[in-house]
């Protein structure tokens, strides 16, 4: 028997979404940098900010999963 919390599955699903998002951001930023290497530093900053916003969603899910399993309060 597997014992666990359904919140873990939710966190996993959110990680899929965030993974796709961050993958897109990283890929497009690479493309941009390859096309225009002189703008690399600006692209990198913008990329990190965008990645932070995407990542936040996954982290919200992690926190919800924690609360769901009742381990952090």
């Amino acid at each position: 028997m597997i014992v666990g919390s359904i919140a873990g599955i939710g966190a996993g699903l959110a990680a899929i979404g965030a993974g796709i998002g961050i993958g897109n951001i990283g890929g497009k930023a690479m493309e941009g940098m390859a096309r225009q290497p002189e703008a690399a530093s600006k692209i990198q900053t913008a990329m990190l900010i965008a990645a932070a916003f995407v990542e936040a969603v996954a982290l919200f899910a992690v926190v919800v999963a924690f609360l769901g399993t009742g381990q952090v309060n």
Partner: protein
């Protein structure tokens, strides 16, 4: 009186560090007396190891990332920290090892006339009678604790870590500020040369692009936040004494940091900023929908800042501890061959994450402040 020569000398750092270390280590003698009680508990936990092993490990991991009333060094050596509680009978304070290390809620302790019970490192008022599980803690059907709690304003491990990191920041930055005053217009020297590129990075890559010509007023805040978060992220990664306190993985600390950004944004917001909130550029019949959304937006930004830092750092710590725990879950030394290099790999990634999170916290703070202070024509 000019004290900068003291701060500048290398001997000062090494001497003061040793002094602090040894004075703290001398406390450890106090903790030895509870060794027998601890081993007795260890034996009981071994006897029913099989079924509860996995739960034990998740408990250990959560214990490691949580705050505590003592600073654990290794084995049985730990430094007790002062517990300060605001109870019904006023302030109560005692060293955390005064009543032993029993945190299972089975003993009632009496400090300055207040009856208390220590349950998993937190102090509660005891239930009038012992429950069926032998503790003075009552749970409801969901497992939540029903006991009332005194207000805990103790000097905990996180508070000590905060004080250490703040004193390091003060010593370093006051000393380089003095060097800047003294050596105006000359090339940087010593500590200054390490930190100048980072300070310039914060100014040119974080403050200027987001804040434009108004960057100067917000530089002190941005630099403070950046170096505070970065230093504490790095100190959290050190597994032994000066570090190891998971300070930026504590939601109360990140909440205060986010609150500072929120207050700065709210106080500095100009009429365009508030205009966006209360008269958004949408048809008037959308106002009942848009104004609440904009008002919620004011609060979600700092809340996202808070959760992002907390969850990133906590997740990193849990990941490292889980990988090490794999050895004990699978119960084979061979796993260490896989787990330890992986832990090293993750730790190196965490070094980068520590910097990136500090950078992101600062740049988002700058972005939010920039949104609050920008003029309409700059769109």
């Amino acid at each position: 009186m000019d004290l900068s020569h003291i701060f500048n000398s290398k001997k000062f750092f090494s001497k003061s560090f040793c002094a602090v270390l040894f004075s703290l280590l001398s406390f450890s003698a106090f903790s030895q007396e509870h060794t027998s009680a601890d081993t007795a508990h260890a034996e009981t936990s071994v006897s029913h190891a099989g079924t509860e092993k996995k739960e034990d490990i998740s408990q250990i991991i959560l214990h490691h990332i949580a705050d505590s009333h003592e600073w654990h060094f290794f084995g049985d050596v730990s430094v007790p920290l002062p517990v300060i509680l605001y109870t019904e009978n006023g302030l109560v304070s005692f060293l955390s090892n005064k009543f032993g290390h029993n945190d299972h809620g089975t003993d009632v302790i009496e400090a300055d006339g207040s009856k208390l019970v220590n349950y998993h490192g937190k102090f509660y008022y005891p239930a009038p009678v012992k429950g069926a599980d032998g503790t003075y803690i009552t749970h409801d059907s969901r497992g939540d604790i029903l006991n009332a709690k005194p207000l805990d304003i103790s000097i905990t491990k996180n508070v000590v870590s905060l004080l250490i990191s703040v004193s390091v920041l003060l010593i370093v930055f006051i000393s380089i500020a003095n060097t800047y005053k003294k050596r105006e217009g000359k090339a940087p020297k010593g500590l200054q040369s390490i930190l100048e590129p980072i300070i310039i990075f914060v100014r040119d890559d974080i403050a200027k692009p987001q804040l434009g010509y108004r960057y100067k007023g917000f530089m002190p805040y941005l630099l403070t936040v950046f170096f505070f978060v970065w230093l504490n992220n790095l100190m959290g990664l050190i597994p032994f004494f000066p570090g190891g306190a998971n300070l930026t993985g504590n939601i109360a600390v990140t909440m205060m940091l986010a609150l500072c950004t929120f207050v700065l944004t709210t106080v500095n917001g100009n009429k365009n900023y508030w205009g966006h909130v209360f008269t958004p550029h949408v048809p008037w019949w959308l106002y009942p929908l848009m104004i609440p959304v904009e008002i919620i937006g004011l609060f979600t930004k700092p809340i996202a800042l808070m959760i992002r830092l907390f969850a990133n750092i906590t997740a990193g710590h849990i990941l490292i501890l889980s990988l090490i725990s794999l050895i004990f879950i699978i119960k084979s030394v061979l796993v260490a061959g896989v787990a330890i290099p992986f832990v090293l790999f993750i730790s190196v990634i965490e070094l980068v994450v520590g910097f990136i999170q500090a950078f992101i916290f600062t740049i988002l703070s700058a972005l939010f402040i920039g949104m609050a202070v920008e003029e309409h024509a700059e769109h």
